[in-house]
């Protein structure tokens, strides 16, 4: 059971971190919780469907179907995160100024709730597919009974959600009034990590050159497969054996998203 719980926890964690940060970034947008739930439900349904067809997906595109699927999903997440940040940067002040009046906040714009919901759905699509395959396997291996499977699943999900809630609480409390700045910075690192992951998969599938690989090797010092390594990888994009292509992508994405989140706005938008 503990192994199932651990696996479910790991897969839930990534989704929880993305969801927590996006929910913090879109503070003030009406209906964001409802849309987050819509995103979760759509993601779970989608992941279940893909898990059923996973075998065929793997056989298509000369065996690298999974790599391409993962890369596309990762890049889509990066675009959605960047877009949310860009939108909140331009419209956040208007939303905050009309904080007491839901109707006027809706008038100011609701686009980020759809972006956020799609990002959550897409994340679940990726990690959920893996999880579904794992659970099917665990059920097939008859040593795992249905009860301990369910218990492990519940503990894993609960743990992941707890970390997400703590992160959300922490970010909201620690940054008093400057929530958006703190969250935008964290999301920039997270997005850069996801983009580097996507490029790594495309290099691994032989679609892109990887340059010097690995550029550095800290696997012995802090393994990316260890629990701390995984967490730092999810949150900040820590890589133990990155290729040049991944490091370049990381830097470029980080710079782009930070610019989107902290760029100076023309006076006309800022004061409107």
């Amino acid at each position: 059971m503990s192994q199932i719980a651990l696996m479910v926890f790991r897969e839930t964690l990534e989704v929880a971190v993305v969801a927590a940060l996006l929910l913090a970034a879109t503070r003030g947008i009406p209906g964001r919780w409802t849309w987050a739930i819509v995103g979760i439900v759509v993601g779970i349904i989608g992941a279940s469907i893909i898990a059923v067809f996973a075998e065929r997906l793997a056989d298509s595109v000369a065996g690298s179907g999974q790599d391409v699927f993962q890369a596309v999903v990762l890049l889509a997440t990066v675009v959605l995160v960047a877009w949310t940040i860009a939108w909140m940067r331009t419209h956040g002040r208007q939303i905050a100024a009309r904080a007491r009046d839901t109707g006027r906040r809706i008038a100011a714009g609701t686009a980020p709730r759809y972006l956020m919901a799609t990002a959550i759905a897409v994340c679940i699509l990726r990690d959920g597919t893996e999880l579904a395959m794992f659970l099917v396997g665990a059920r097939m291996a008859s040593e795992t009974g249905a009860t301990s499977l369910l218990a492990g699943f519940a503990i894993g999900i609960g743990g992941g959600l707890a970390v997400g809630a703590l992160l959300y609480r922490g970010v909201m409390a620690a940054s008093l009034g400057h929530v958006f700045n703190a969250v935008a910075a964290l999301l920039a690192f997270l997005g850069a990590g996801l983009a580097a992951d996507a490029i790594g998969k495309l290099c691994g599938a032989g679609w892109l050159p990887s340059g010097i690989d690995p550029l550095w090797d800290t696997e012995e010092i802090l393994s990316q497969a260890s629990d701390l390594g995984r967490f730092l990888h999810t949150l900040l994009g820590y890589m133990s054996q990155p290729s040049t292509a991944q490091v370049l992508t990381y830097g470029a994405t980080l710079a782009l998203v930070l610019w989107l989140g902290f760029r100076r706005l023309p006076a006309s938008i800022a004061s409107r």
Partner: protein, 130 residues
């Protein structure tokens, strides 16, 4: 400030473009290595890799042929090799790995059974004879 911003953006984009050109240039000599890939066969049996430690030659492309002999799916993953793919029970997956530099270790593992499914690719120091 606005006057400064556009050139800075252009310089940034140029740097990224230069990086990618360098990568592509680096990829050409790799493509020239026209040796047949060195085949490595790995079986997954009872959630363990057989063999778990594999010596491979340096500077030669590799072809990893991973057969999952268990009935349950396994996710074959290696961080250093940038591989992560689910192999359903009873199926075989092939991975082409570009030439690796000598004296390096690349760990791989089965994400679904981390306690047992652990292995390592050891790249030998001497350059493979061609």
């Amino acid at each position: 400030m606005a006057v400064l911003r556009t050139p800075r953006l252009i310089i940034g984009l140029l740097l990224v473009a230069a990086g990618w050109v360098a990568l592509l240039a680096d990829a050409i000599p790799a493509a020239r290595a026209d040796d047949a890939p060195f085949e490595v066969r790995i079986a997954i049996r009872n959630h363990r890799f057989e063999p778990a430690i594999i010596e491979v030659p340096a500077d030669r492309p590799l072809k990893l042929i991973v057969t999952n002999e268990d009935p349950t799916p396994e996710e074959f993953e290696s961080i250093g090799l940038k591989i992560e793919r689910i192999i359903p029970g009873g199926k075989t997956a092939e991975f082409l790995v570009k030439p690796l530099r000598p004296n390096r270790n690349f760990k791989f593992f089965g994400e679904f059974h981390l306690d047992t499914a652990q292995g390592q690719l050891v790249v030998k120091g001497d350059v493979a004879t061609k």
